[in-house]
Amino acid sequence: MERIKENYFIYADPTKCLGCKSCELACAVAHADSDLLTAVAQGVRLQPRNSVVQSNNLIMPIQCRQCEDAPCALACPTGAIYQEEGMVKINEKSCVGCKVCVMVCPFGAITVTADEAENGSSRTKKGKARKCDLCYSRMKDNKELSCACVEACPTKAIMLVDIESYRKKLLEARAKEAVQAYKHI
C-alpha cells in the first residue's frame, strides 16, 4: 500500500515578517497570469490568496494550511473542495460561491471573489472560492513546488513546509539537546 504523505503547506515566521506585503503582491501576480506592472497598467484585478495580518504586535501572512481533514472540504455542499496531490484543491466549476468554506476555515484563509467586475448578469456574480493553491500552476517540470510568496519574501520569513523533513530536522535538533543533557548525568 502506498504510504500517505502529509500535505505541504506555507508557513511564516512572525519574528521575521516585516509586514511589507511583498508576498501578497507576488501571490496576486502569480495568480493573475501577468506581471505586476502590466497588471496595474491594464487594470487587471489583483487577488492575493494570502493576507498579511497584524494582531497586536505580531505580523504574519495567513494562508491555507492544506489541512489533512479539511473542514472546508467536509462542509462544501457541492463537493467542489477535495484532497488531491497532497493539497486541498477547489474545482471552480463546481463552486457556487456559497461561502460555507469561508465560515468553517479555522484560519480565515478562503475568500470568495470574481476574476472580473460584475458584468450586469442578474443570475451570477461569478464569485468563486479561492485560497492558496501552493502555486500549483507554477509547479516545475520535476514536480517541485515553486511558491511565489516564498520567493518574494525579502527576509525569508516564509517557508514551504514539507512536514516530514521539517519533523526530521526538529527531531535532530531535539536529540542534540537531549544528548547534551545526557553528558551531564
Binding site: K16, C17, L18, G19, C20, Q54, N56, P154, T155, K156
Partner: protein, 635 residues
C-alpha cells in the same frame, strides 16, 4: 500602539456617527493600512533612483546593499535628511510668502496688509543691523523684507543666515559654524540636501546627517523669520481668553473654519467676515458669522484675535462631520485631502486658496496678496450660500469646549515678568530656576499621530512634568491638545502644578492682572512659532552667560508625524536641547544613524534625541535630564 483613538470626548461622540453614515475617517484608514511596511518603518527602503526600489534585510539573511551598493546606514540617513529638507522647504516657503507680503506692504502693493506692530519692526531692524533710527515705516518694512529675503539668496557660503546668526547665543553660532552646519542660504541648503542625496553622492552616513543638521538649521531660519514678520504685519500676540474644541461651533451661525498654517489668508478672512456679519444674519444665521480655527492657521488667529480653536490635526475631519461647518478654508500643510471627500456628504464648502495646494473636489478661490480682500469676500459669500443649504437635522455639535488662555509670545511672557521686576524682567524667571521653584522648562511641539491615542501623550507627560515643577510651553497641535483638554486654564495650574511652580505662576499671574495664576501650559503659537520659545531661552542663556546646552531645557514631540516635525526636532537638538519623540522614527534600520541621533549628537552639539513611546516613562526620562542639567550648572 493603542486601541483608543483619542482622549478628546468629541472624537468618541462623532466617530460613531461617521461609522453609522459610512464615512471613513483617519482612524479607519490607519486600521486599513495595517500592517505598515516594516522596511519603511525602519527606513531601509530606497526609491531614490530607478534601479530600485531597494531594501535592506534587517535580519541579515537577505540583501545588505542596494543595487548601487548603498548600505542601510546610507539609505536611512539619506531618507531622513530628505524629510528634513521637505520640512525646511515647507516652513521656509511660508516664511518667504510672509516676507514678500511685507515687501509688498512696504511698496504699497498689498492694500489688505499694514504694519500692525511698529515697535517689533524696529527691533527686528536693529537685530538685522539695519539702523532703523529716523527711517519711515514703509521704507523700514522694505528693508527688513529685503534683508530677510537675502537669507534665501546669499551666495557667499561663509556668511551665515542673518536670522540664524542674530537669534542664537554667540557660542552656539561659533560651534555650528565650526561644524560647518550653519546655513548661509535657506534655498541653497534645501537644494544641497537634494543634491547630496542623489544617487551616487554623499554616502557616509555621519556626513549625510551633518547635512541634515544644516537643513534643520535652515528650517529654523525660515521659521524664525516667518513668525517675526507675521507679528509685524498682524501684531504680536498678547494673552487672550478664548475657547477650544468642537463645542465652539454655533448652530445658529455661519461657521467658517480656517485651516492650514498661514495667517496671510485667514487674517483677511477674519477682517472681511466681521464686515459681512449682517449678510449672514439676513441669510438666517441669528448669530452672524462664527470663525473657528483648525490646526495652526487656527493657532495663529487664536493667538492674535482670540478666535476659538475647533480642533487640532487628527480631528479635522470631525469638524465637517458635525454637519455645522459651512466652509472650511484651507491654505497649506497638514490638510487631509479626505476633507473634500467628506464634504460631499454634507453641505460644506471646502475652499482651497493657493495654486500650489489644490484638493480634488474642493472649490478653488485663487488668493494673492494684492487682491486678498476680493478673495476673502468671495470665500465668505460661498460660506453664507452653503449655510442656506445646511440640513439642520444632521447637525451634531458636541457640547465639549474648554476655556483656553492663549497668546504667550516671548514679548508677552517678558511683559508679564516685567510686572514683577520692571528693570530686569528675566530676573524673576532666572531666580526661580536657580532656587529650584521652577526645575526646568519643557517645550511641547507639533502633530498628532494615529499611532498614539490622540492628545494623550501630551496631557500625560505635561501633568507629570507640572507636578515636578517644570514650566510648560506649547505650540502647534500640542498647544491644540492642551487647549482642547483644559490645560491652558488657571484651574489646571491649581489642580496639576507642583507647589513651587504653582506659587511662581500665581505670583506672575497676579502681577499681570489675571486675578489668579498663569495657565498651566503657556500657548506660544502655531508650529512655525517654536522659535518664540527659543527667543526666551536664548535671552536666559545670554543673561546667565552659558550656552543653551547647559540649561535645564527640554523639548518633546510625543505625537510627531510631519516632515516639518523632523526638521524642528533636529534643530532643537542642534541648538543643544534634549528632545523627546514619542513615535518611533523611521531610522532604526541603521545603528549608525540611530546612534548619531541619540548619542553622537550629544558630543557635537549638546542636544540629542530621546525616543520613548510610553508617556509615563517619557516624563521620567525628561525629569531625569532636567535634574542632570541642573547638577551640571551646580544648582
Amino acid at each position: 500602539m493603542s486601541n483608543k483613538r483619542s482622549v478628546d470626548p468629541c472624537v468618541d461622540q462623532l466617530v460613531p456617527i461617521a461609522n453609522k453614515e459610512g464615512i471613513e475617517t483617519v482612524w479607519d484608514r490607519y486600521e486599513a493600512m495595517k500592517p505598515q511596511c516594516g522596511f519603511g518603518q525602519l527606513g531601509v527602503c530606497c526609491r531614490i533612483c530607478w534601479k530600485g526600489p531597494c531594501r535592506i534585510d534587517p535580519f541579515g539573511n537577505g540583501p545588505q546593499r542596494g543595487v548601487c551598493g548603498a548600505d542601510a546606514h546610507t539609505i536611512v540617513a539619506r531618507n531622513l535628511i530628505r524629510m528634513i529638507a521637505a520640512g525646511a522647504a515647507a516652513h521656509s516657503e511660508h516664511g518667504r510668502h510672509v516676507a514678500l507680503t511685507l515687501l509688498a506692504a512696504g511698496e504699497g502693493h498689498a492694500p489688505a496688509y499694514r504694519i500692525k506692530d511698529e515697535q517689533k519692526l524696529r527691533s527686528i531692524a536693529e537685530k538685522l543691523n539695519l539702523e532703523p533710527a529716523g527711517k519711515d515705516l514703509k521704507q523700514l518694512a522694505k528693508e527688513v523684507a529685503l534683508a530677510s529675503l537675502e537669507d534665501f539668496s546669499r551666495q557667499e557660503r561663509t556668511t551665515p543666515c542673518s536670522w540664524a546668526k542674530e537669534t542664537m547665543t554667540t557660542e552656539r553660532v561659533d560651534k555650528l559654524c565650526k561644524l560647518r552646519v550653519m546655513p548661509h542660504n535657506i534655498d541653497a541648503v534645501v537644494t544641497e540636501i537634494m543634491g547630496r542625496t542623489h544617487v551616487g553622492c554623499d554616502a557616509d552616513a555621519v556626513n549625510v546627517m551633518l547635512g541634515g543638521l544644516k537643513g534643520a538649521l535652515a528650517d529654523y531660519t525660515g521659521m524664525y523669520l516667518s513668525t517675526e514678520l507675521s507679528d509685524v504685519i498682524f501684531g504680536t500676540p498678547e494673552p487672550v481668553v478664548t475657547a477650544a474644541n468642537l463645542g465652539v461651533l454655533k448652530e445658529n451661525a455661519v461657521n467658517i473654519a480656517v485651516h492650514g498654517h498661514n495667517p496671510l489668508l485667514s487674517e483677511i478672512v477674519c477682517d472681511v467676515a466681521l464686515k459681512m456679519n449682517e449678510e449672514a444674519k439676513k441669510a438666517g444665521a441669528e448669530d452672524g458669522i462664527n470663525i473657528v480655527g483648525i490646526c495652526c492657521t487656527g493657532n495663529e488667529v487664536m493667538m492674535r484675535r482670540g478666535i476659538p480653536l475647533a480642533s487640532n490635526y487628527l480631528s479635522q475631519e470631525l469638524a465637517i462631520i458635525t454637519g455645522a461647518v459651512d466652509a472650511m478654508v484651507v491654505d497649506v500643510q497638514c490638510i487631509m485631502p479626505s476633507i473634500s471627500k467628506i464634504s460631499e456628504c454634507f453641505h460644506t464648502e471646502v475652499i482651497t486658496t493657493l495654486n500650489e495646494n489644490k484638493i480634488t473636489g474642493a472649490t478653488h478661490i485663487e488668493f494673492h496678496e494684492d487682491t486678498a480682500l476680493d478673495s476673502a469676500k468671495k470665500i465668505v459669500e460661498l460660506a453664507i450660500d452653503a449655510f442656506k443649504r445646511r440640513d439642520n437635522s444632521r447637525v451634531n455639535i458636541p457640547s465639549y469646549k474648554q476655556t483656553a488662555i492663549t497668546g504667550f509670545s516671548a514679548e508677552a511672557i517678558i511683559s508679564a515678568l516685567s510686572k514683577l521686576d520692571a528693570n530686569d524682567p528675566l530676573k524673576p524667571l532666572i531666580d526661580n530656576i536657580v532656587n529650584g521653584n521652577i526645575q526646568g522648562i519643557a517645550l511641547f511641539a507639533g502633530c498628532n499621530n494615529p499611532q498614539t491615542t490622540q492628545d494623550n501623550s501630551f496631557i500625560t507627560i505635561a501633568k507629570e512634568l507640572a507636578k515636578n515643577n517644570v514650566l510648560i510651553l506649547a505650540t502647534g497641535c500640542g498647544a491644540g491638545a492642551f487647549a482642547k483638554n483644559g490645560l491652558m486654564t488657571q484651574e489646571a495650574t491649581v489642580a496639576y502644578a507642583g507647589d513651587s511652580l504653582k506659587a511662581v505662576l500665581t505670583a506672575i499671574g497676579e502681577a499681570a492682572g489675571l486675578n489668579g495664576p498663569m495657565p498651566l501650559v503657556l500657548h506660544m503659537g502655531s508650529c512655525v512659532d517654536n522659535t518664540r520659545a527659543v527667543k526666551v531661552a536664548v535671552a536666559v542663556a545670554d543673561k546667565l552667560g552659558v550656552d543653551l546646552d547647559k540649561l535645564p531645557l527640554v523639548a518633546s514631540a510625543p505625537e510627531a508625524m510631519a516632515e516639518k516635525a523632523v526638521a524642528i526636532g533636529t534643530w532643537a537638538v542642534a541648538l543643544g536641547l534634549p528632545t523627546h519623540i514619542g513615535v518611533v522614527p523611521q531610522v532604526l534600520g541603521s545603528s549608525v544613524v540611530a546612534e548619531f541621533l541619540t548619542e553622537k549628537a550629544k558630543d557635537l552639539v549638546g542636544g540629542y534625541f530621546i525616543v520613548e513611546t510610553d508617556p509615563k516613562k517619557a516624563a521620567e526620562k525628561l525629569i531625569a535630564v532636567i535634574k542632570q542639567r541642573r547638577e551640571g550648572l551646580g544648582i
